[in-house]
Symmetry: C2
Subunit: 459 residues, 2 copies
Amino acid sequence: MTTTLQDCRALDAQDPLAPLRAHFTLPPGVIYLDGNSLGVAPKATAARVADVVTREWGTDLIQSWNTASWFDLPQRLGNQLAPLIGAGQNEVVCTDSTSINLYKVLSAALNIAREDSPARRRIVSERSNFPTDLYIAEGLCKERGLELLLVEPDDISAALTSDVAVLMLTHVNYRTGAMHDMAAITAAAHAQGILCVWDLAHSAGAVPVDLNGADADFSIGCGYKYLNGGPGAPAFAWVHPRHATRPDLKFMQPLSGWWGHAAPFAFTPDYQPAPGIMRYLCGTQPIISLSALQCGLDVFTAAEALGGMAALRTKSLALTDLFITLVEERCAGHGLGLATPREHARRGSQVCLTREYGPHAPPLRGSLPPEGAVTALGRPVAGDSGAYAIVQALIARGVIGDFRKGDGGNGPHKDILRFGFTPLYIGFEDVWNAVEHLRQVLDTAEWQRPEFNRQHAVT
Amino acid sequence: MTTTLQDCRALDAQDPLAPLRAHFTLPPGVIYLDGNSLGVAPKATAARVADVVTREWGTDLIQSWNTASWFDLPQRLGNQLAPLIGAGQNEVVCTDSTSINLYKVLSAALNIAREDSPARRRIVSERSNFPTDLYIAEGLCKERGLELLLVEPDDISAALTSDVAVLMLTHVNYRTGAMHDMAAITAAAHAQGILCVWDLAHSAGAVPVDLNGADADFSIGCGYKYLNGGPGAPAFAWVHPRHATRPDLKFMQPLSGWWGHAAPFAFTPDYQPAPGIMRYLCGTQPIISLSALQCGLDVFTAAEALGGMAALRTKSLALTDLFITLVEERCAGHGLGLATPREHARRGSQVCLTREYGPHAPPLRGSLPPEGAVTALGRPVAGDSGAYAIVQALIARGVIGDFRKGDGGNGPHKDILRFGFTPLYIGFEDVWNAVEHLRQVLDTAEWQRPEFNRQHAVT
């Protein structure tokens, strides 16, 4: 028996987390399945930001360093975030960007390895890790004469050899939504004397994370995806307490700016790192953007009374299960594949569909616009996966997901249609409606219209 | 003949820049002489920030990367800032913090030196440079086995020897307001084959700067002081075009994040730097705070029609001249000294007064509060400079400057009372009133009251 719209409505009616949707400003007519890229604005944010601009800055000016506790803000937000990722109090700071925080913690891990086990000269990561993570690691390896070994997910265990200093992984893959077993992989790495750096960009606020429970070493993550902190919201960094203070490594964290100093207002000419996680701060933080992040975290604090991350995870899996089921029931025959694991333990909070490009691309349907009829627009051509155009057609209908090009690797050539499900504000009827739009876009060949196709779309 | 209040009012009446004050939200009853620490909020900022939160983020969501041109924002703001610092178009980006930008450009300078003149193993800077600059340099020297040589201002020339890779200076000193001759020092450094990194934290928007005219190599600066970008506003980085693109130095700038990639949306696993200044970008920027910075820059754009930086400089010198004159005329006999150069060519846009601590501290006056009468508050004691308490007493009267402790060096022990003059929103009557408050605080020994004194104020 197939799933019906009524079934979805029934699920919404029983959803204990449904009230959380009222915390967000969802634009009318939009089904937003891109919270994994940029989260939705909490309703409280506009007023909070206005207060920072007009009162904290405008009226109180420099005195807000004290009266509004600006100096404590990175750690205060870190403490609010900590329960979502299994971190303790005073173990997390919200600051800078994920790329910069990764530079800090990866440098720190390498500095510890250089001190404690100098023969280890390799970083291992996944070839499909988020590119900026790889760029940062590549630069550090080049500077230090180390090797960056990129492997496929199935080859990680075999790569954990005695010459490896650091294993650097993203917990939930940005392209496929596949989730690693953090505890098991960390244990395997530790058994080989390897430090683990975990990127939680697609995990924090999306799935329960237990950094201390997994005995991770370092972690960073993003403030503007599932945490709904606003565009480019400051990111976060966590360091296991056993590594946070290493008196023998004064520059364990190389971005040794004033905010991470032990006595930041003493203006001494020599650097002395603050104790614990505070040394992972560097320069002056963007207070307006940082304050906005708090409103995103406040929603998770409100969610605590409704079951917190465990309840959010239950709903997230139900939403992604439903999406997969509906796509398979209602969009069959259109060449869609599934990149995201069906197994719950291996799935994040997104579903990635695929269409092949190249010789096995799904056939075009119906009548095509005449070749060359339009110059600024495109035309679907044989060999194109159509994934880009399908996503564009969905966006035009108000269903916002995104497109990721096939990675050009040696496997099957598959482009990705990516749909993120944020259980804070997405409901089951949204899932029904999203799949219904997808079905119509495919059944009517709507995506083949020129306005949805780029020129030279075969890549 | 001494200066009068009427003289000051006459200067305001003739001030062509007076209309600019209307661009700012000055709190009533406040004379804000701390724009060198945190600039005042432009009136336009609240609406701009609200629009970013509610429309760009709240309504347009992920599409604002295109429709609001978020990706171009760091360079767009850099282009708007460029004329203030003598930079060309597409030579500046607004991004990250000053500390992080310094790490980028100082690393780049060291990487160039390592490639082009590997025997140069030293960075020269001033001992009284802003501490965070020294912390960053100290960390880089430690990592690379280089030497950081800190000298007094008069000893800079002698320190420019053939083993020096980089001279790193702050153009206007944060403690004294003394300004370096950027062109002369850069020429002297270049004559010795030394690269120059200039920190413009207390210069950009405060004094005319001509980076290209001075043939500087690298520069960074602050968005939240004289540029009025908001608390912790993103900073900026400039690189001379001759250094911006070095194909042989892929990781010239070591914070190799996605935003500085040549093809940031291609998601390739290997890093390829963007051409020119764009490679100095790293991770995702805090769009709300970055957008607020634009409102600060817009005031300088409006000032162009009134004479721009040249006119602002003329007014700034008139304001600081007036402040020095009035303090000397009206506050004599209170042990105040002057740390800021009288010579215009060597003065930034601030005036730093001094009081000695230790055996030559100015005597206390009148009756003192009984010792031990209050526990949470303090009591002025012999040997204390009184500078901290005087600043606190002024703040209580609405005159906001700040206190900087003596640097504990070998010279005379002088604490600093620091007053910044932002010609965009400070007028000549403000200067009169500020000095009148200072006179009253000193003449009546008001600063000796317990509420203005810390316990154990002798340091």
